[in-house]
């Protein structure tokens, strides 16, 4: 009987201290955004950038916790549709059917362009090819060109690397490179295209294998692979991807990166996004190899 009493007291104490912990910090906040947690999820292309922003913002305003996870643009938007995140990151624009689904769930997606990204075409450093046109890229990835000598390289088989189909980068590349931006085009990736689950997989295979052609976000290109200059058409000039060429609209394979919220954001989320669009946050964009807006 005595034991039972002790246990009850111990449990009560535990319960009370638990309550204390829960309520105490909510008083006496001085920083502008009140204590809050922002859940941020989506595009793997954006995940490093979103993490860097979250860290920097947390240093500026320690009361705001931002949890960032990847998983892909579709994952982020699906989470927004189910209203389980505050901000969804996407490397593509939200589709009309996704907006429809969201509205059916009472969610109203609100769009921000937070940075720009370019897809870099990468090959092994020992590959002598320096430049390709979009048409050549399309022919390579759809399986019409199968040897490097057809595009001015050595007599080697071309091994095509791609991100998995669930990656926003994959869809962007399919629509703008393989199909050359033509929405009526039904060209598909050649079936022997290797679908690798991560950027790291693409980089390590490109570093090692002289037969390979791959693509990935400019932010993920490491110095040990070779970046190819791209021309929009055969008569155009060949442009290497960089912050300048993307912002001036010269580099042909570039895109906007998005954050979506439910309705126009308010309070902590609005403060966070306003900060992201500020020059201070946009310097982080440059540091990570993306291209800042404006």
């Amino acid at each position: 009987m005595k034991n039972l009493a002790y246990i009850v007291i111990a449990l009560l104490l535990l319960f009370l201290t638990g309550c204390n912990n829960g309520t105490a910090p909510s008083t006496g906040i001085t920083n502008p955004p009140q204590i809050s947690t922002i859940v941020n999820k989506g595009s793997d292309t954006l995940v490093n950038l979103a993490l860097a922003w979250a860290e920097k913002y947390h240093q500026l305003y320690p009361n705001v916790e931002i949890s960032v996870t990847g998983g892909g643009s579709g994952t982020g938007i699906a989470a927004l549709i189910n209203n389980t995140v505050d901000i969804a990151n996407a490397s593509r624009q939200i589709k009309s059917e996704e907006i429809q689904q969201a509205e059916n769930n009472g969610v109203n997606p609100f769009e921000f362009i937070v940075a720009k990204d370019a897809i870099a075409i990468i090959v092994n450093p020992n590959n002598p090819v320096d430049q390709l046109t979009i048409k050549q890229l399309s022919d390579i990835y759809s399986g019409k060109i199968n040897n490097w000598k057809e595009v001015g390289g050595e007599d080697r088989v071309i091994v095509r690397l791609s991100r998995e189909t669930n990656s926003g980068t994959h869809v962007f590349f399919l629509e703008n490179v393989v199909r050359m931006g033509n929405p009526d085009d039904n060209t598909l990736f050649s079936t022997d295209t290797l679908l690798l689950p991560s950027s790291e997989g693409i980089t390590s295979e490109t570093r090692d294998n002289p037969n390979v052609i791959g693509y990935d976000g400019l932010g993920y290109v490491t110095p040990d692979v070779k970046v190819i200059a791209i021309a929009g058409d055969a008569s155009g000039t060949f442009i290497l991807p960089s912050a300048e060429t993307v912002n001036q609209g010269q580099y042909p394979i570039a895109r906007d990166l998005y954050m979506y919220t439910n309705n126009q954001p308010t309070e902590a989320i609005a403060d966070y996004i306003t900060w992201i669009l500020s020059p201070d946050a946009q310097t982080t964009v440059t540091q990570l190899g993306f291209v800042p807006i404006k």
Partner: protein
């Protein structure tokens, strides 16, 4: 006092019963869930689509043949590596090796079985794939062969430990009798011990193969995941996409209740049926062995 004891016994018996039956219930529930989520596939995707050669789900191409072929070729390849090596290791540990080597090898094999598959996949990407590409002068090292070798490595510990147990349970008198008749040690192993443990060894192989076909992480990392139907004689030297890797790579992003979602569960259902088949075959073999042992004793 007596009633407490009775109660204890009653509760314990029931706890054990519940845990026992729960395994059956869980399997039944998983099967039901797979059926519920997977069967709508048949209404949504046409049969000709499912049996086509193109898997590109974001454009509604749901050809399952490349995936089934990919899983088969990688698993068969893995079996070709794992079965001879696994059996030889089991025979060595059980029949040939001196006591100290046996005490060292058994735990080592078990450690090998405990290596996380993602670690093996990482080794595969960084070491095995580049090595195979240079050695065999392949276009890329991310091939079915690379997957087979690593999956073989995963299946070997299962094969070794089950086969070793089977060999160990062959009565001592069998070997003594063979040796007394003048058979050499090798003849004893090959003609007497191994046939006597045949069903256990068969179980070992089937469990190892079951382990290989269900493996996901390693194959996703090293087989290149290109959905090509592997029907050429040299297909093992080219990339393939397995059923497990497809589910793992695509399930995270798929919209719930879309055709793609149902097709992924349908693939899961196929895998479930395959591994169920393998397990039933294995336990049938096990059961036969028991009957045989009983016959010997009587």
């Amino acid at each position: 006092m007596n009633t407490t004891k009775k109660w204890n016994e009653f509760i314990l018996t029931w706890l054990i019963k519940i845990s026992g039956y729960s395994a059956i219930i869980f399997v039944a529930m998983i099967f039901y869930f797979l059926l519920r989520e997977g069967l709508p596939t048949i209404g949504e995707a046409s049969i000709s689509n499912l049996f086509s050669r193109r898997w590109y789900p974001i454009e509604d191409y749901f050809g399952l043949l490349p995936l089934i072929g990919g899983s088969l070729i990688v698993t068969i390849g893995a079996a070709l590596f794992a079965v001879p090596i696994g059996l030889c290791t089991a025979i060595f540990i059980s029949e040939v090796s001196p006591r100290w080597a046996r005490d060292l090898l058994k735990p080592l094999v078990e450690v090998l079985g405990g290596i996380p598959s993602v670690v093996l996949g990482f080794l595969g990407i960084l070491i095995l794939a580049p090595y195979l590409r240079r050695l065999l002068e392949l276009p890329t090292g991310l091939t079915a062969l690379t997957g087979s070798i690593l999956l073989g490595g995963i299946a070997i510990p299962t094969i070794v430990s089950v086969a070793e147990d089977a060999l160990d349970s062959v009565p001592r008198s069998y070997r003594d009798a063979a040796l007394a008749l003048g058979a050499t040690e090798w003849q004893t192993i090959w003609r007497v011990t191994l046939p006597a443990a045949r069903n256990g060894v068969l179980t070992a192989i089937m469990l190892g193969v079951g382990r290989a076909i269900g493996e996901t992480m390693t194959v996703m990392m090293v087989t290149g995941n290109a959905a090509v139907l592997p029907i050429k004689i040299n297909s093992i030297f080219f990339p393939v996409r397995t059923m497990t890797a497809t589910i793992a790579a695509e399930m995270g992003e798929v919209a719930k209740n879309s055709t793609h979602y149902h097709v992924l569960f349908f693939i899961g259902l196929l895998l479930f049926i395959i591994s169920l088949g393998i397990n039933i075959a294995a336990s049938t073999a096990m059961f036969q062995q028991r009957k045989r042992a009983e016959r010997i004793l009587s």
